[in-house]
């Protein structure tokens, strides 16, 4: 380093040679240097990979939009790449006229584009009782956020003449082997639910339901039925497997809560986070994500002393209802152990709880809807690990 940095003094090949031509890749790919950021399974969590989860690498993402190739995946019976020319959507039940739509039909209807988060009801589910996984990818990675484009479900219901007085519920069904089914309340269906064909400017990815999926803002991912083929209007909930046998929350007295759907206000620091190491003392940007299934994020506070003292973080725009919101806060690490936490508050005034507060009401076995404050311990060595504090 006598004269300076060799990265500056010795001109590299890319400055002294000819680069790649246009369209060398018809569909662009991330840099070779980014190949570590992959969605991944959590070993031992599930038994077979066609009914499993691949977690999004939140530790490496920026802003609020999840790149399509890194969107988390959850299937019950494997995924398919369905020919959109053969795909049909049927709407029937308590309607004036049962109808069949092709993709061509649907795409002629007035469409909307909205940014929303999707979170699996079981996100952070492994940590109800204790710390179980090393990084934010596995603790919070069943979370993604996209701009979805499609037709409002309300438009289709009106088009078929749905009886919205008697027909208080809608059943949504997928076209895959699992024929996944979930009941959705009519009030919600008429509000902000979308029958979507696009995410982030391109058609849905097959793993995410190509060519058609339901978008149910603020509600857990299982209701966002993929490969959507059927919507039935009825006067009662259906009690399907994914609402009566799974995605039910076990309470301490042995009673299960059914139809728990809303993803309550939650946040997590994505950097620095578990498994990482701070290279040296000095300034860091503490950054993370906040979201609420009930509306917009109003405020995010950050603590570096395990929750004794808090400072309000900076929210980046846009701050949208039922969408991820990015927060940032500058932090000067003095080299001593620290415990980092974030706490989100939504526009209903609801404050993200501590894990002890959740456990006091729901025990430790409910699996679903763990929206507790996450703690990351920074050791004097700079190593960051997943901890729970009281």
């Amino acid at each position: 380093m006598a004269q300076g940095d060799p990265a500056i003094l010795q001109l590299p090949a890319h400055s002294t040679g000819l680069g790649q031509p246009v369209a060398a890749r018809g569909y662009g790919k991330p840099s070779e240097y980014e190949k570590n950021l992959q969605r991944r399974e959590s070993p031992g969590l599930t038994r077979v990979s066609q009914s499993s989860v691949a977690f999004a690498p939140l530790q490496g993402l920026f802003g609020i939009i999840t790149p399509n190739g890194l969107h988390f995946e959850r299937h019950h019976q494997g995924w398919w790449d369905i020919d959109p020319r053969q795909h049909r959507l049927m709407l029937h039940g308590l309607v004036r006229e049962a109808k069949v739509y092709t993709m061509d039909d649907l795409m002629r209807l007035p469409s909307v584009s909205r940014i929303h988060f999707i979170e699996c009801g079981a996100n952070s589910g492994m940590e109800w009782a204790n710390v179980a996984v090393p990084t934010v990818q596995y603790s919070h990675g069943m979370l993604s956020c996209c701009e979805f484009t499609g037709v409002r479900l309300a438009t289709l219901l009106e088009h078929c003449g749905a009886d919205v007085k008697k027909g208080r519920y809608i059943l949504a069904e997928g076209a895959d082997g699992s024929g996944l089914t979930r009941t959705i309340g009519m009030e919600r269906a008429l509000d902000d639910v979308i029958v979507a064909w696009a995410m982030n400017g391109e058609c849905l990815r097959p793993e995410n339901g190509y060519p058609l999926r339901l978008v149910v803002p603020g509600v857990q991912g299982v209701s966002w039925v993929k490969w959507l083929r059927r919507l039935e209007v009825g006067d009662q909930p259906w009690d399907t497997r994914e609402e009566a046998l799974h995605y039910i929350d076990l309470m301490p007295d042995g009673l299960h809560r059914q139809y728990s759907s809303v993803q309550e206000c939650k946040s997590v620091i994505t950097t620095p986070s578990g498994g990482q190491v701070l290279l040296n003392k000095g300034q860091y940007n503490v950054t993370g994500l906040a979201w609420s299934g009930r509306g917009r994020i109003r405020r995010v506070d950050v603590s570096v002393d395990g929750g004794r003292n808090w400072k309000t973080a900076r929210l980046e725009t846009p701050v949208l209802p039922k969408a991820l919101t990015r927060f940032n806060m500058a932090w000067n690490w003095d080299g001593r152990p620290a415990i980092l936490q974030s706490r989100a508050i939504d526009d209903t005034g609801y404050v993200q709880p501590k894990i002890a507060q959740l456990r006091a009401v729901r025990g430790t076995r409910s699996i679903y809807h763990n929206n507790a404050i996450q703690s990351w311990l920074v050791a004097a060595s700079g190593e960051v690990s997943n901890v729970q504090v009281e």
Binding site: Y33, N36, L37, G60, Q77, L91, A98, K99, V100, D105, R108, L109, P110, V131, A132, P134, T135, Y138, S178, G179, G185, R230, G234, Q236, W238, D239, T240, A244, L245, I248, L250, G254, L255, H256, R257, Y259, S260, V262, E264, G274, G275, V277, L278, Y284, D301, G307, N309, V351, P353, K354, L358, A360, R362, L377, E383, V384, S385, V387, V389, E390
Partner: protein
């Protein structure tokens, strides 16, 4: 035409266009009754949608052995593909309609422990099982299989015949029929939250105490974290014990094809060189079977089928799609581990 009139005409045209739009005429078509019947197979809690038919426990046993037992075990007890379907309910539960075992901690929750509506089971088997060939069962087979599972769960006797006529009787015997509640604030957006925290800002509560940390044995459970984050920036991923046990750069050593196959097929996610993680350490496996000439073939079969019990209760998933020669290369490589 005056300018005013022209403007009015233009406006009328725009309005007419809007009208046509709002009706979305010519979009979609009426569904035929046959089309609706082909897709509308759902069976609701009140049995709306249940087709006529029947099936006995003994017929169910035959179908089960042929189409279900390979994954769920002969009695629905298997843990290999999915938690057990049966177990954990008592005669007292059938009487009360609340499974007492659910109020206790720990043990596995079987399907019959949680099941509150018989229709849920019927509808799910009909739409989704067998897992690799769903929607291939007849209605009578679905009745028979449902009866067989209920019999394994001690809910109906071995002589029982289940049909659309007596589903309600069985419903009245389901051990967890009273075990569900919809009274909570998490269904609708405006529901009332059950936990209320306050946003204290300064000197909040006592000094925090760490109550849980990642257990040592789980440290390497998720593979080499260094390979899961980018290699620049002010924070990096820390190298874990598992990662450091593998020499970082060893270009001179010719890589064993068994090793790269094991890496590619995700075996190393559960098997570390020296420590026990989710599965046994490679060195442990090698030393257990040293000098056992039949071990290689037995282990190839074991990995293909998956299984548990040799090292503990955690199951290894099956790897049915791997080539015989690849499996053999991996097992050979594992058996050489030190």
């Amino acid at each position: 035409m005056s300018r005013w009139n022209k403007a009015l005409c233009a406006m009328a045209l725009v309005l007419a266009a809007n009208q046509a739009w709002a009706q979305h005429s010519g979009i979609g078509r009426a569904a035929t009754p046959a089309e609706i019947a082909a897709w509308d197979t759902d069976v609701r809690g009140d049995f709306k949608g249940l087709p006529p038919g029947s099936g006995s426990v003994s017929h169910g046993e035959v179908v089960w052995e042929a189409k279900c037992a390979s994954c769920h075990g002969s009695f629905g007890e298997s843990n290999q593909f999915f938690p057990p379907l049966i177990g954990g309910v008592t005669a007292e539960d059938i009487r009360t309609g609340r499974v007492a075992g659910l109020a206790k901690g720990g043990e596995q929750r079987s399907t019959v422990m949680k099941l509150s509506k018989i229709s849920t089971l019927w509808d799910y088997i009909n739409r989704a099982m067998p897992w690799q060939a769903p929607k291939t069962l007849t209605a009578d087979e679905v009745y028979a299989l449902t009866a067989y599972i209920l019999h394994q769960g001690n809910i109906v006797p071995g002589s029982f015949v289940l049909s659309d006529k007596n589903m309600a009787e069985v419903q009245a015997r389901l051990p967890n029929r009273n075990g569900m509640t919809r009274k909570h604030g998490l269904w609708e957006t405006r529901g009332k939250p059950d936990v209320k925290a306050v946003a204290c800002m300064r000197n909040c509560g006592p000094e925090p105490r760490i109550t849980s940390q990642l257990p040592d044995h789980a440290a390497g459970s998720h593979g080499d974290l260094v390979e899961q984050y980018r290699l620049f920036g002010p924070v990096r991923m820390a190298a874990l014990p598992v990662a450091s046990a593998v020499p970082a750069a060893a270009p001179a050593v010719v890589s064993d094809p068994g090793r790269s196959l094991a890496d590619k097929n995700g075996c190393l996610a559960c098997h570390a060189p020296k420590q026990r993680t989710i599965g046994p350490a490679l060195a442990e496996i090698a030393s257990k079977y040293r000098g056992d000439s039949g071990a290689e073939s037995r282990l190839v079969a074991k990995v293909r089928a998956g299984g548990q019990g040799v090292w503990g209760t955690t199951p290894m998933p099956p790897f049915q799609n791997l080539q015989e020669q690849d499996l053999r290369a991996m097992v050979q490589w594992i058996l050489k581990a030190e």
